[in-house]
Amino acid sequence: MGRFWSLLFLLVPILGAGLFVVAALPNSAPLYDHWFPEDVSRDGFIIDNLFNFILYLTGVIFIATGFLLFWFLWKYDAAKNTEPVKFIHGSHTLEIIWSILPAVTLLFIAIYQMDAWAAAKMRRPVISAGADGVEGTSDDQLKPPLVEITGRQFEWRLRYAGADQKIGTPDDVHGVNELHIPVDEDIVVTLKGEDVLHSFFLPNLRLKQDIVPGMKQFIWFRATRTGAYDIVCAELCGWGHYKMRGRLVIESREDFDRWLQAERDEQNRVQYSPSETDE
């Protein structure tokens, strides 16, 4: 039976690696679209590449250790192995080798990831580098947000600037769940929460940020393709969490401006606002 059990454990690296290969192949028949969703962002490929880098690295270790385990079970099966047991308590040299090698590799992975993390979370796009001419200093003129998104049970509330180009004034354009953005531009978004935690997740832009009530956060990205994509809530927010779905509409600058103007006009026509006069 030792042969049978050894082969069973050999299946783990073979089928395990195999499933990833089949899923990653484009258009593989049973697992169509079972890999990263379409990337429509400028920077998303960085995350995909980092993922793939770790995948290759861990894949090699996974197959190597899985195969070793199989081989040792096969070779040292008590029913077949006639040699006496190796009476060994360990090896100092081996312990040193297999401590230092993973340590260096792991540290390398950590350092290798840091720049992408900083770009995604710390380097907000700037309009100009300020008086000193150096980006990343405190006098940068940061790009203002295009839209403010407020998560609430169970919808995404949107506010675009009105004619005054400022968010937070009475002429803001309000929307819900349908986020329009222009393509090929740096977009900055303000994230706010009203009730519980939510998480703003754009799978096609490899972007995710939890929304915390009481905190005002900024996210930024640049879309490179027009089309309509999912906005997913990725943090449990109550019974209706599953249906807190939005749509991201990426369109050309002209289409975006036309849409925003139409929204403004529509809102001004229907809005009753005692402090403002109708046009």
């Binding site: 454990f9 040792f72 190796k86 993390w117 995710k208 109550g238 019974w239 249906k243």
Partner: protein, 600 residues
């Protein structure tokens, strides 16, 4: 005295006729004997394991066939919804599945069941240092059982804020289904589990430090005991934080304190009066306990697996001291990695880099352990008995779970896979395919010591084979779902166009999950059948070296019928000093005078 209690324990399954009810209650219910308490923990947690598994089937049903009528039990459970799972019920399902499995199964089965049963036996003590405290630690589980049970039956039937209980969802009354009294009962229940664990930890630490048999130095302890010892330290230092945080959440809910609630909340169209708090504070406090808890849930399993692998490879453990150091290293680093649960939470991104580096480094001791297990099997004589199969599968599966952890330790990658099924795959590989498989192995391994009889080997192998196949069928595809971005905790993910094509894969996984739960019937029958019909065995059926195998099976009150004296480490298999391929820790060296070899 020793001999009479030995026979009593052997008749443990049948009601003792001579002693009367008071005798029975004193001996088997309110017992101070660590072995009885361990077995009480074992059967209580196995019962909860069944409940947690059935809750998981509910989740799998909804993910495979959302909003469809559940056969047979659907109309009983949800007649108002026409036999379907409602979204409210679904949030309860995954909240309670995780709560039950973590707080009522894995933590108490490792520390409570095996810690209690094994620590005094393996160090050569007659009982725990504080037997009454030990009894209390079991009986404090009962308020927890009752409170969580009440939570299920308090409308709308169970807490629904996730097992992480993140505020404001959990702290604001009415924010989530079940966030009224069901959530309060949940918090109180988890607190009672904490009290029980704390009593256990104090006892284990004292016992291991003070009550070792003569000659049992710290570096002669079996790795199981090292796992239990380090786990007890983790519990003792991390638990108070969770308990404090739990009480803060309770006062937020009941007294309007607002530790975790910011200004200006509007929930269900009503403004909240309290404010001035921070939801992220809860996450920091919660994970300061719950990340070390991840190691509380695996270190004892690693120890037990080491003992089983050494025994059935008939070879010393490879690198005993590096194994001890890596257990300690995992525990030490375990205290400074909690922030990796919060990379996209809104925490300062600079902190994310620190936590990423610390988290990467914790993979190192885990890797060292895997290499040492491989080194132990290398050059041995592997016996493919049921406990060994489960132990090997622990190693094989821990490689999967350990490597997938590297993806989420990397902050940019985690932006995409956070809160997706990639994470779900990772922790199921560590906790089910890892720890639960180790626990199965440990039950098969120590069952003869608990009940004096072997479990059926054929049924055991069948149980292993089916569990192993169905488990991988259930959990492995979760990795692929995660790469697509499939989020956790969604009652119906398929209305997103990004995830609509994933339903067939989920149906496959659910069918495997049903198979996995069904396979446990074999185990349940085996465990009860063998108690009466299993072949009786002597003290040391596996020819193992550690001290518990020199005591009678099952050991009577006081454990040993002789004073164990320890001469060597626990893994001297295949030693050239003796003719046998094992060399019990109590066996005097050949030069010394022979005085009882501990065999019957």
């Amino acid at each position: 005295m020793m001999s009479s209690t030995t026979t009593d324990s052997q008749d443990h399954a049948t009601t003792p006729s001579g002693g009367g009810v008071g005798y029975f209650i004193g001996k088997y219910v309110f017992s101070r004997d660590h072995k009885i308490i361990g077995i009480q923990f074992l059967f209580s947690t196995l019962l909860w394991f069944l409940i947690g598994g059935l809750l998981a089937l509910g989740i799998r049903w909804q993910l495979a066939w959302p909003w469809s009528n559940m056969p047979v039990i659907g109309n009983l459970l949800f007649s108002a919804e026409g036999g379907q799972i409602s979204p409210e019920f679904y949030t309860m399902l995954f909240t309670m599945h995780a709560t039950v499995m973590i707080f009522f199964v894995i933590i108490p089965i490792l520390a409570g069941a095996f810690g209690n049963f094994l620590i005094p036996l393996m160090i050569g003590a007659d009982d725990m240092a504080f037997p009454t405290l030990n009894m209390l630690s079991y009986w404090f589980m009962w308020p927890a059982f009752i409170l969580i049970g009440m939570s299920f039956f308090t409308p709308p039937y169970g807490a629904g804020a996730g097992w992480t209980s993140y505020p404001p969802l959990s702290a604001v009354l009415g924010a989530a289904p079940g966030s009224e009294s069901a959530q309060t009962l949940w918090l109180l229940g988890v607190t009672c589990v904490g009290i029980s664990s704390m009593m256990g930890s104090v006892n284990y630490l004292t016992t291991i430090l003070q009550m070792r048999a003569p000659g049992m130095t710290m570096f002669r302890l079996p790795l199981t005991i090292w796992g239990m010892f380090i786990t007890a330290i983790l519990q003792a230092f991390a638990l108070p934080v969770l308990t404090a945080a739990g009480f803060m959440q309770l006062t937020d809910r009941m007294l309007g304190t607002g530790f975790f609630l910011p200004e200006g909340l509007i929930v269900n169209n009503s403004a909240m009066a309290s404010g001035g708090g921070q939801p992220l504070l809860w996450q920091h406090l919660f994970w300061f306990y719950s990340h070390p808890a991840v190691y509380i849930m695996i270190l004892p399993a690693m120890g037990m697996v080491s003992d089983i692998i050494a025994t059935f490879s008939r070879k010393p453990i490879f690198g005993y001291k590096p194994m001890v150091y890596s257990i300690s290293g995992i525990a030490g680093l375990g205290f400074i990695v909690w922030g990796h649960h919060m990379f996209v939470s809104g925490m300062n991104p600079v902190l994310g880099m620190t936590f990423m580096t610390a988290t990467m480094m914790i993979a190192l001791p885990s890797a060292v352990k895997v290499f040492n297990w491989l080194g132990t099997i290398w050059g041995g004589k592997v016996q493919f008995v049921t406990p060994m199969l489960f132990a090997i599968s622990f190693v094989s599966m821990f490689i999967v779970g350990g490597l997938s952890g590297i993806f989420m330790a990397a902050t940019p990658t985690d932006i995409f896979i956070h809160d997706t099924y990639f994470i779900v795959a990772h922790f199921h590989y560590v906790l089910f395919s890892g720890t639960a498989m180790a626990v199965f192995g440990a039950i098969y391994f120590w069952y003869p010591k608990m009940f004096g009889r072997l479990m059926n080997e054929t049924a055991g192998k069948l149980h292993f084979f089916l569990t192993f196949i169905f488990m991988n069928g259930t959990f492995y595809p979760m990795h692929i779902l995660g790469v697509v971005g499939f989020p956790r905790r969604l009652a119906d993910p398929y209305h997103y166009e990004t995830f609509a094509q994933l339903q067939p894969m989920n149906q496959f996984m659910s069918i495997c999950a049903i198979g996995m739960v069904a396979s446990q019937i074999i185990f349940a029958i085996n465990i009860f059948y063998s108690m009466f019909r299993g072949p009786r065995v002597g003290r040391n059926p596996w020819k193992s070296n550690t001290l518990e195998w020199t005591a009678p099976s099952p050991p009577g009150h006081g454990n040993f019928d002789f004073q164990p004296i320890v001469y060597r480490g626990p893994y001297e298999y295949g030693s050239p000093e003796v003719d046998t391929d094992y060399y019990p820790q109590t066996q005097p060296p050949p030069e010394a005078e022979s005085s009882g070899d501990g065999e019957t």
